[in-house]
């Protein structure tokens, strides 16, 4: 068999996901050794500190080796797997079977069956040649059935039911049997955790500490997702590093509301445009601060925080946003939000930001203290636009109370890079740009 191996091996390496990415973590393998794979078919999922993505196979063939374990982090360029291409590809999986068994099967089976085995279905051939009832890995209880509740609990907790000992009639697995496994008292180890979760919340209870009967129900969702952990790390690092201070300004959005109705775009696009203008006037806020290394950025690369629901949050960047009109910004915001939610962002989409806007106001909240997206030095928070009674002064200097759509803009800024006067001036500029829109 080895004489037939004329294949060549193609390496699958950890890809370079954008310039600043140095390493990545394998989240899940989509294939096993011996599987056939087509070029461009996803071979594994990886996660970098910028983005989670899929790695396409560089060639068609058979997976020969998987060299990196799930959850292992390796540097860019490291070989993660090898794909066997060419003549030997079909023979590769057979190599993973013990040679004597394959030989025995070839001897005891008629020629056509042996040919099948050589085609790459060794398990079938081995099972046929060996004792039929005691085939390896085959049913300790063939045709076992499970009740709906047992199936559901097993699926929720990743329990392999074939390994659970049943105490019901005829060895049937009952609800209490699968619950015993879930609670750690059973006869089978729980199956491997789903790849996006760090660890199971289920641990054997310490025998001396009986659980209080009135303990609140716990939703078992398996700990924090990878994205949540990364958000947590970034946010904590920012708070630990930056001298974060938040300044608010109240803005009359009457002109914006009128204009957005005309253009059919969101208020966020107007705030983005006003922010860009203010950044041009006060370039000290369009900057990076890395340690003592302060860099003013030429372009305004505007990050927009996009919620991914329960999964978390991502900040795709609109590069060279200063070149875009309100309508252009609105279209780009819509596009990046859609791509973020359908997980289509590339690594370059989420890096290079020089200033960030976050806009959670659609739920009616009115103020927040956003956390700066390091190494940027400022982040602007747009909350709900709410009609309020305000004092307005007419051209003759007469005061009256009017109903106006108001919002509170919050600017979190890094006191290491600038001072409060500048942040207040910046907010005043944003406000002026929004309130003085052409009617």
């Amino acid at each position: 068999m080895s004489s037939l191996r004329t294949e060549s091996l193609v390496d699958v390496t950890m890809p370079q996901m954008g310039v600043s990415v140095a390493e990545g973590t394998v989240v899940a393998w989509r294939v096993a050794v011996g599987d056939r794979i087509e070029a461009e078919q996803t071979i594994c999922d990886i996660s970098t500190d910028k983005i989670d993505t899929e790695v396409p196979a560089p060639a068609t063939g058979v997976v020969a080796e998987l060299l990196v374990d799930v959850d292992q982090t390796v540097e860019v360029g490291v070989v993660m797997a090898r794909i066997a291409t060419g003549d030997g590809a079909a023979g590769a999986p057979a190599e993973t079977q013990p040679a004597p068994a394959a030989a025995a099967s070839a001897q005891t089976q008629p020629a056509p069956a042996a040919a099948v085995s050589a085609e790459g279905e060794p398990t079938a051939a081995v099972a046929a040649a060996g004792a039929p009832a005691a085939g390896p890995g085959r049913g300790d209880a063939p045709g076992r059935r499970y009740s709906p509740v047992v199936s559901r609990i097993a699926a929720e907790h990743g329990v392999d039911l074939s390994a659970v000992r049943g105490t019901g009639r005829g060895g049937r697995v009952r609800k209490q049997d699968v619950l015993a496994v879930v609670n750690g008292n059973g006869h089978a180890a729980a199956a491997e955790e789903p790849p996006l979760h760090i660890e199971s919340p289920y641990r054997p209870d310490p025998p001396a500490a009986p659980r209080a009967p009135a303990a609140p129900a716990v939703v078992a969702d398996g700990g924090l997702s990878r994205m949540r952990r990364q958000i947590g790390q970034h946010m904590k690092r920012s708070l630990d590093t930056a001298a974060t201070c938040t300044t608010w300004a109240e803005v009359d959005m009457s002109r914006v509301q009128a204009a957005r109705r005309t253009l059919g775009v969101t208020a966020l696009a107007f705030v983005a445009r006003a922010t860009i203008d203010a950044l041009r006037e006060h370039p000290a806020l369009n900057a990076w601060l890395d340690g003592d290394d302060y860099t003013r950025c030429e372009d305004v690369n505007l990050g927009i925080a996009v919620s991914l629901g329960d999964d978390g949050l991502i900040v795709p960047v609109i590069h060279r946003a200063h070149e875009l009109s309100v309508e252009g910004l609105a279209a780009r915001i819509k596009d990046i939000a859609r791509r973020a939610r359908s997980r289509e962002l590339t690594a370059d989409d989420v890096q290079g930001g020089t200033f960030t806007i976050t806009n959670p106001g659609q739920f009616g909240s009115i103020m927040a203290t956003p956390i700066i997206n390091l190494p940027q030095v400022g982040i602007l928070d747009l909350e709900a636009i709410v009609k309020r009674p305000v004092v307005v002064t007419d051209a003759d200097g007469n005061d009256s109370i009017a109903i106006r759509p108001m919002t509170i803009l919050g600017l979190s800024w890094d006191h290491r890079a600038l001072d409060g006067a500048l942040s207040a001036q910046f907010l005043a500029t944003v406000r002026r740009r929004l309130e003085d829109l052409p009617a």
Binding site: S147, P148, V149, V150, R152, G168, R169, R172, R174, K175
Partner: protein
């Protein structure tokens, strides 16, 4: 609080309503001078007069038909069928006239039809039936079936106050066998289920006289934790309570004293199969009277009615599943 029998609780509810609300009146066979076949209305004619506690001809269609008319003009009539079995004679007035009046003409029909039901005392095929499912199948009629003295009073108050026709299934076998504390005065028991005993391994769902049977059968089943759910109301059926019990227990035995086919328990079983499928750890088991008339013969009657032994056996089988 006073300790009353189930029957005394029903009498007390009726008396309280007659005293409190002059729109309330009663109609039935021998309920006035004689005080009712079971003495539920004993002394009522003397206290309230025969205008409000009326003896009627032996004509259930007339009783219910008159009650519907009185209800439409603002009265709150309570009809007594001497035995629940006899309601077949008043079926059209109840199902077609009372039940559909609101739908057809927008008129409320606040009547209560009291149905002394159930067997267990050798009453034979005409005096032992449980016809509640017939009315569950007829839109526009509510159906309640208390199992305790307190619920008998509270559900009867709520039934009289309800703007819809209500069939009040009072179980004859419970009349003088069930006793309990009953709060004083007028109070309403909601048309919802009640956990008679909570448990976690298996739930027995029952109503009326079968609640006691379920409790007795599962008092000590080799230490298993058995819940007993008393439906109390069949229309409306308390889906949330049923599904909650099934979610916790995963095994279900449903007991009906009525004949098996299309009984109230069949509706409960269908509900569980559809909405609690993923909570089930075994087949939904029913215990009911087979589809035969109730025999006169005492041993034969005991053989067909669901008793403690049959419920026990069903629970044991399902627990071992």
């Amino acid at each position: 609080m006073a300790v009353m029998t189930y029957l005394q609780a029903i009498s007390a509810a009726l008396r309280d309503e007659l005293r409190a609300d002059e729109r309330v009146l009663m109609m039935g066979e021998d309920i006035g001078v004689f005080g009712g076949a079971f003495k539920v209305t004993d002394g009522f004619a003397a206290e309230f007069g025969t205008d409000r506690v009326m003896d009627t001809p032996l004509a259930e269609s007339a009783i219910i038909g008159c009650a519907v008319g009185a209800a439409v003009v603002g009265m709150r009539p309570v009809c007594e069928m001497q035995f629940a079995d006899f309601i077949s004679c008043g079926f059209d007035q109840l199902v077609n006239v009372a039940g559909k009046m609101h739908y057809r003409q927008g008129l409320a029909v606040p009547i209560v039809v009291r149905l002394p039901s159930g067997g267990g005392f050798s009453g034979g095929p005409f005096h032992s039936q449980n016809p509640e499912a017939l009315f569950m199948h007829s839109p526009g009629i509510k159906v309640v079936a208390p199992s305790t003295a307190e619920d008998a009073k509270g559900l009867l108050h709520a039934a009289i106050h309800d703007p819809n026709p209500v069939c009040f299934m009072e179980h004859k076998h419970l009349y003088r066998r069930v006793k309990g504390e009953v709060p004083d005065g007028v109070f309403e028991t909601p048309f919802s289920a009640r956990v008679a005993r909570s448990g976690s391994d298996l739930v027995v769902i029952a109503y009326g006289a079968m609640v006691d049977v379920a409790l007795a059968a599962t008092e000590d089943l080799e230490g298993a934790s058995i819940e007993v759910l008393d439906l109390r109301s069949l229309v409306p059926l308390d889906e949330a309570a049923i599904l909650d019990s099934v979610a916790r227990c995963s095994k279900v035995v449903i007991v009906d004293e009525a004949n098996m086919t299309c009984a109230a328990g069949a509706q409960v079983a269908a509900l569980v199969a559809e909405k609690a499928f993923e909570d089930l750890d075994g087949p939904v088991v029913r215990v009911a009277t087979p589809d035969v008339p109730i025999p006169f013969s005492p041993p034969l009657e005991q053989a067909v009615l669901p008793g403690v032994d049959r419920v026990k056996e069903a629970c044991r089988e399902l627990l071992a599943y």
